[in-house]
Symmetry: C2
Subunit: 347 residues, 2 copies
């Protein structure tokens, strides 16, 4: 199933992701297995392929959105996806390097329902394993004999720098008072942290299809805008929850005092509700009633409507960029299905 | 001055390093300045170009051994060094990424007579800046239009993985009892941690000169063997000091209970002096008399002679590999002068 069917169905994306994991995971895993010594152990654990003691584990795979975008972009531009499997694996490896280091920096203790690698192996080993995974991702591309591999390697390296900038900005925001972070800064951070790698995935897929500069740029813009739409919707779910999902409880981001996009929009609204929210965010602990009051204040300050409107606008722009890169709607169907999936409009 | 003169003089290497800094630093600095936000700040501080507050600093440059090897290898194989300046800068950037992360992992508080970056900017910002520097080094090579750039990028990425493996092994050794670390493991660790990047520097210079696989491999082997000779001599200085240098006090490595190569060789000697050393290393603190006794035990156990012999043997092998890659001694002179310099036989 491809094209418009996949979008209408929504199951299309799930099948695309399954297919991607089947195509990419053997390459990804065999590459990770080349890492020397305990770096291999840390990486195999992080990917969910091994337990902490090195025994085989049932896979808890990531969703494989990024490699799916690489392969779908290659197909959408008329090339065989088989030629881009290494590139897809490299992108997923780079993504997981950033997760491994983000968990250290953010001191997060859980990832994919398991203890994070640094809590199991210690910061030094997790840090060093992440360094090696980053270099391995870029090496995979640089060594790939495909004619687009050097350009793809440069693009992925540039994207890693942008991901670092996004993560650094995120950390810096945490240390600032809520109203010291502007909405523009917040949008720029979300673009760097979430949009950049989705954009690079689409761009690398396009490069592997032999696309020209304009198509590659349009593919990158599609991924970036879809990524920002995803972040906006994720932030909405972090406040109001998702009736169709049990993963993230309503209010979780408010309890954590997260400076998410709807929150920052509300704080910047200049409304009395924005002031109420600022007062609530100044409290060190928010009880259940305060969380409800904060969610209500975000809504009355216009943060919810703004985020929903922005998400729709970003998706609209994403679709326009996609049509520019891939004028045939049937050929663009898989890309669109994946974008709809990441923004959780379908499942 | 080139060739045999430089070796005889010893000042030749100093001049080569000065010339390298003049040729490479503008490229290196302008690339580092492209890093976004506070990652730029951290990197500029680490390189000694800025104070912690972002004001310009008098340079405390690294010795630039690695970029000097890149350029010397390119020249030795008959190409213009100007074409390899970006590659030389990329290697120095990669080297500094590893220093930045090593300081975090080893919790070192001083580097080049200044507080280390993580003590100034915190672990998160230093970690993220290092990630970006690694990607930037590989990006510089991948984006370089030189025909050898993709191969050089792949080689540098592979080398970064090996450096990570070396650093990880070093950390693991620290956690083990002195006699649980074998001499072979210790040599393999030193090769990965010190030899790999000196080898890659020579190999990348050769690639940029359009050399064939055999010359590239011989250049890599030259750098690796010279790197190991350097490490052995550095380890000797860490125990007995260097009458011609004031930098490292005699006994410093013994005070720190370092499992350096002469120490591990002595512990593995099966001699009574090796047992004496093991007894001394089991003490949590070594006073001045104990340090003298430990140095004496390493010597009587044969650790000093072994290390001196190994260093000479490694340098001999290095020279053989160099002659294979560059049969004309005059053309090989600068490479040899640099190798002699790093092993501190001349200054």
């Amino acid at each position: 199933m491809t094209g418009a069917d996949a979008v209408a169905d929504g199951q299309g994306a799930v099948r695309l992701l399954d297919r991607t994991r089947t195509a990419v995971n053997p390459q990804l895993r065999s590459t990770v297995e080349t890492l020397p010594g305990s770096m291999r152990r840390v990486a195999m654990y992080h990917f969910g392929w091994e337990h902490a003691d090195g025994t085989p584990a049932a896979e808890h795979p990531g969703k494989a959105i990024r490699p799916a975008l690489v392969l779908a972009a290659t197909r959408a531009l008329g090339a065989e996806e088989a030629g881009a499997v290494k590139a897809a694996a490299a992108v997923e490896l780079a993504h997981n390097f950033t997760l491994l280091h983000d968990d250290i920096v953010d001191e997060d203790v859980t990832r994919r329902h398991r203890p994070t690698a640094w809590t199991v192996f210690g910061v030094p080993d997790a840090l060093i394993a992440g360094d090696a995974m980053s270099a391995l991702a870029l090496r995979m591309l640089a060594e790939d004999p495909h004619p687009a591999s050097a350009a793809a390697s440069a693009r992925l390296a540039a994207c890693i720098i942008e991901l670092c900038a996004g993560q650094q900005a995120d950390c810096a925001f945490e240390r600032r008072a809520p109203r010291e972070v502007s909405l523009d800064e917040c949008l720029a951070m979300a673009t760097a942290k979430t949009g950049a790698l989705l954009g690079a995935s689409c761009a690398i897929g396009a490069l592997y299809a032999g696309a020209g500069d304009e198509e590659v740029a349009a593919m990158d813009a599609f991924g970036r805008e879809a990524g920002l739409a995803f972040q906006l919707i994720d932030d909405l779910i972090g406040i109001w929850g998702d009736p169709e999902r049990t993963g993230k409880p309503a209010g979780a981001d408010l309890v954590a005092h997260k400076k998410s996009l709807p929150v920052v929009a509300a704080l910047a609204s200049g409304t009395p509700a924005g002031d109420e929210l600022a007062e609530l965010y100044a409290r060190p602990v928010l009880d259940e009633a305060a969380v409800r009051a904060a969610a209500d204040a975000v809504e009355r300050a216009g943060g919810r409507d703004w985020a929903q409107g922005q998400a729709a606008e970003r998706m609209g722009r994403a679709v326009e960029h996609l049509a520019q890169a891939v004028p045939d709607p049937a050929a663009a169907g898989d890309m669109l299905a994946l974008a709809e999936f990441v923004t959780r409009r379908t499942r």
